[in-house]
Amino acid sequence: MAQILVVDDSGTVRNEVSDFLKANGLTVTPAVDGKDGLDKLKSDPGIKLVISDVNMPNMDGITMSEKIRSELNNNAVNIIILTTENNPAMKERGKAAGIKGWIVKPFNGEAVISTLKKLVA
């Protein structure tokens, strides 16, 4: 059981984000790509928030978000995407998939922690 699923193929980002969240008293499950993320989310109903990268092997973050809604029928979990670019097409898809937040990299935990805590409360 964890509160947050962190999906990123980069171990550095994954660990950095996870460590920061753990240091702030949150529980975290890591996943290495979209596919892994879907599996982890399926097996852990306690997850309330998914923080995911966009570009990943096997399955990207946006597709994963779409599948969370359509295949897992999970409309409750909040999804936040870590992004680096301003891509209107991607945002359009994200909106349809009910993505709640966009955090532009680099991830600055201090600036977002209070809002993240509200999302898992």
Partner: protein
């Protein structure tokens, strides 16, 4: 009357009409029923009964005939009984007819019939009696004579009665029919009338309701489509429609109010956007700049092509931001706009707060950026609000103010050290720096001994600086000392680098030189020191402290604050090492009252008009030497004794005026008095005596006046203790010339050739003798206290000096 009343009346009327028609019909029906009854039960049976009379009469006749003619007595007797019964029946029928008689005629006929019947029955009785008595022939004769006669008579009457009854019956039936058809006609007519009246009433009511409603609807639609909220629907009625219109009008009034308010707000915002000295723009989706922005934005970005531009291009092109930061900024816009407000919080830290933007002509503007989200009701960020402030000037001023502050702090530090001590410190510091430079230049590689010496020297300089509280210097020395310390370590982080060390040392030397230069130039404390300056400078130390405080407290975001603080610092710095002329000459001015007394004159008033000039402290002694002579001359030669002055309508005490100004890059100090003037006649006389001029020469007043600068030339009636000691104007002139200056006499009146002429003595000295301080007002000189009493640092800069505003003090 309102509409519901009208409708109620219409319904009530309808009911009344229905009831009236119904009621009338019922009454008529009842009446007709009675009529019918009287016809069917009265007139008709009576008519029928009248017909019966005839047959009854026949029956009687039959019976009589039988009685009379029948030979059988039994039959006759039976007919006799029958006759009696028939007779009774006929009598009854006739009686009934009498009862049912409608009119007099019928009643007359009945009566006639009764009479006739009585006669008839009497004849019958006579006849029957004849029969009964056996007189058969007599009976038969009577029967055919009197009985038949009465019978015919009675038959005729009864027949007439029957006709009469039939006529009566026909009349009754006809009347009944008429009455029935009347009823039908009246009811039909009344119904028709009612329908017409109700229809008219209904139509009127309908019109009264629909017309104003459609009129109201029309006007409302007009107002709605024209958006002209100043119009009102006229209220012509007090009913429901009238009340609707009143409600509508009050709604329009509210709309007018709020639309007016909205208009006013829009205008206000537009005006603000047009006039605020700040750039404001909003950014919509795709980082596009919205068409509404503040006019000042065009000034900041120096372009009017703003609406619809890409924010990245308008704001962030040609800035100091790297490509990576730019892509972040771009992504941040996309991540926030059209998304939940939380995304603004997520990414706010990436929104750049300050940029340096290079304009097309190469100027660099420092722009401060302030981001805020504009959200809709659902907390979705619909646009980003970006406030742009051009802080180039502000940053420059802040940097300058900081520099000024630093300088003032250094001055404060220096002033806290006695002049001799400071001099000693600088001398020793330079000695140690020289020594270190020599060591560094000699040493090519790392050398323990050299480093120890370098460190010791620098440590000593630092110690001294710290002892004297020269903190700004200490910091720099500390850096050099640290470097030496690091190099002395077994495994230093840095290597011996001659160039670097020399550069660092040069930096320290420059700092020390800066301190020395402030001490020497700004504070005028060059050398070993001069006691009285020290006292004066101590006074201004407070001003410096106040100025430092003002600089420290200045809001770095307020241009006004910074400018004010900088002005104050500027003034404070300019005033350092200077003093007002009144103060520089205080010992001279103090000596004037006693001199005046010796000469039997009143102490003069001293008027100083400095026009914002203060004299540098180093020139004080020169000025004293010059003006000691000139002022004493004024009192001795110029000002008259009180009695003499009073006689000429002058104030008993004389006035000496001093005016400072800059003329052709020279400081010009003009001295004048309100005495009798220059004794030109007496000078000419003396010049002739001494054969400096001859009677034949045409000598101008100016040339005559120039003679007073000749050595040993004095006009005093007798050699006074004051000015006739041989150190005359020639000595003063020599003194002035030594200072690269000049002295001259300038007449102030047009009385050429007069015995006495008004004049002023004009002393010109190099401008370095004084400083002009903006916004500095002349200082009042209060001779009795011998002190500075007021210094006005007013920021209005009103340095205008008039004779009126100049200060007069009783000397």
């Amino acid at each position: 009357m309102n509409i519901s009343h009208r409708i109620t009346i219409l319904i009530a009327l309808t009911f009344v009409a229905i009831f009236s028609i119904g009621g009338y019909s019922i009454v008529q029906s009842l009446h007709n029923a009675t009529e019918v009854k009287s016809v069917t039960e009265g007139v008709v049976p009576s008519a029928l009964a009248s017909a019966d009379l005839v047959s009854q009469l026949k029956d009687v006749q039959q019976a009589v005939f039988t009685v009379v003619t029948d030979p059988d007595d039994k039959v006759a007797a039976l007919s006799m009984e029958k006759l009696a019964a028939k007779k009774k029946q006929l009598q009854q029928s006739l009686a009934l007819q009498g009862k049912q008689a409608d009119n007099d005629k019928q009643r007359g006929l009945v009566k006639e019939a009764e009479e006739s019947m009585n006669n008839y029955f009497q004849a019958i009785e006579e006849t029957t009696n004849f029969k009964l008595t056996g007189q058969k022939e007599l009976a038969e004769a009577s029967l055919s004579a009197s009985v038949a006669q009465y019978q015919i008579e009675l038959e005729a009457i009864v027949s007439t009665l029957r006709v009469e009854k039939n006529r009566s019956k026909d009349t009754a039936i006809e009347a009944l029919n008429k009455s029935l058809s009347n009823t039908v006609n009246i009811v039909s007519l009344v119904t028709l009338l009612t329908i017409i009246v109700l229809s008219i009433f209904g139509v009127v009511l309908y019109r009264q309701i629909t017309r104003p409603i459609s009129k109201m609807q029309l006007m409302m639609s007009e107002i709605a489509s024209s958006q002209d909220f100043t119009r009102r629907v006229p209220v012509e009625r007090q009913d429901e429609i009238g009340r609707s219109i009143v409600a509508f009008n009050s709604m329009i009034e509210k709309i007018q109010e709020s639309s007016g308010l909205l208009k006013q707000k829009t205008t206000d915002i537009q005006t603000m956007l047009q006039n605020m000295p700040q750039g404001i723009l909003t950014i919509a989706g795709n980082n596009q700049v919205h068409a509404e922005y503040s006019a000042y934005l065009e000034t900041i970005f120096e372009t009017s092509d703003i609406a619809g531009r890409d924010m990245m291009d308008l704001v962030f092109s040609h800035t100091n931001l790297g490509a990576d930061v730019l892509s972040q900024v771009e992504a941040v816009g996309g991540a926030c706009i059209g998304e939940d407000l939380m995304n603004f919080e997520f990414n706010q830290h990436l929104m750049v707060g300050q940029i340096e933007k290079t304009m097309p002509d190469g100027r660099v503007k420092i722009l401060e950026l302030n981001w805020s989200p504009i959200t809709d009701g659902a907390d979705t960020t619909i646009r980003l609000l970006l406030c742009v402030r051009d802080v180039t000037e502000l940053r420059k001023l802040a940097a300058e103010a900081n520099e000024k502050k630093r300088e003032l702090e250094i001055i404060g530090e220096i002033l806290a050290v006695r002049q001799e001590k400071f001099h000693e410190f600088i001398t020793s510091a330079i000695k140690f720096i020289d020594e270190n430079e020599l060591i560094i230049r000699k040493t090519m590689t790392q050398n323990e001994e050299a480093l120890t010496q370098l460190f010791r020297n620098m440590h000593t300089v630092k110690g001294n600086a710290r002892t004297y509280g020269l903190h700004h210097l200490t910091n720099h020395i500390h850096e050099a000392e640290n470097t030496y310390q690091e190099l002395r370590k077994p495994a230093p982080d840095i290597a011996w680098d001659q160039d670097m060390l020399l550069k660092q040392l040069a930096e320290v030397r420059a700092r020390v030189a800066h301190y020395a230069s402030i001490n020497d130039v700004s504070l005028g404390r060059k050398g070993q020191g001069r006691g009285d300056v020290e006292r004066y400078l101590m006074v201004d130390k407070q001003a410096i402290q106040e100025t430092i405080k003002r600089l420290a407290n200045a809001n770095p975001n307020s241009l006004q604050d910074l400018v004010a603080a900088q002005d104050a610092a500027h003034k404070a710095l300019q005033l350092l090492g200077t003093e007002p002329i009144g103060e520089a000459l205080d010992s001279v001015l103090e000596s004037l009252p006693s001199l005046a007394n010796e000469l039997g004159k009143l102490p003069p008033m001293i008027e100083i008009e400095d026009n914002g000039y203060v004299v540098v402290s180093q020139s004080a002694s020169t000025l004293k030497n010059i003006f000691m002579h000139l002022m004493r001359n004024s009192i001795d030669h110029g000002l008259e004794i009180p009695a003499w002055r009073t006689a000429q309508n002058k104030p008993a005490s004389g006035r000496i005026s001093l005016r400072l100004e800059a003329v052709q890059d020279m400081l010009q100090i003009s001295l004048s008095d309100d005495g009798r003037g220059l004794a030109l006649a007496r000078i000419r006389e003396l010049a002739l005596e001494r054969k400096l001029i001859s009677e034949a020469d045409t000598v101008s007043d100016e040339e005559i006046a120039q003679l007073i600068f000749r050595p040993g030339f004095s006009t005093a009636e007798k050699v006074t203790e004051v000015s006739g000691r041989g150190v005359g104007m020639d000595a003063v002139q020599n003194f002035v010339k030594r200072e690269q200056g000049s002295i001259s006499i300038r007449f102030t009146d047009d009385a050429a050739g007069a015995e006495f002429r008004g004049f002023e003595t004009v002393v010109c000295l190099p401008i370095t003798f004084a400083k002009h301080v903006d916004g500095f007002n002349y200082r009042q000189y209060d001779q009795s206290a011998g002190n500075l009493v007021a210094a006005d640092f007013g920021d209005s800069g009103d340095t205008a000096k008039t004779a009126d505003s100049a200060t007069l003090k009783q000397a």
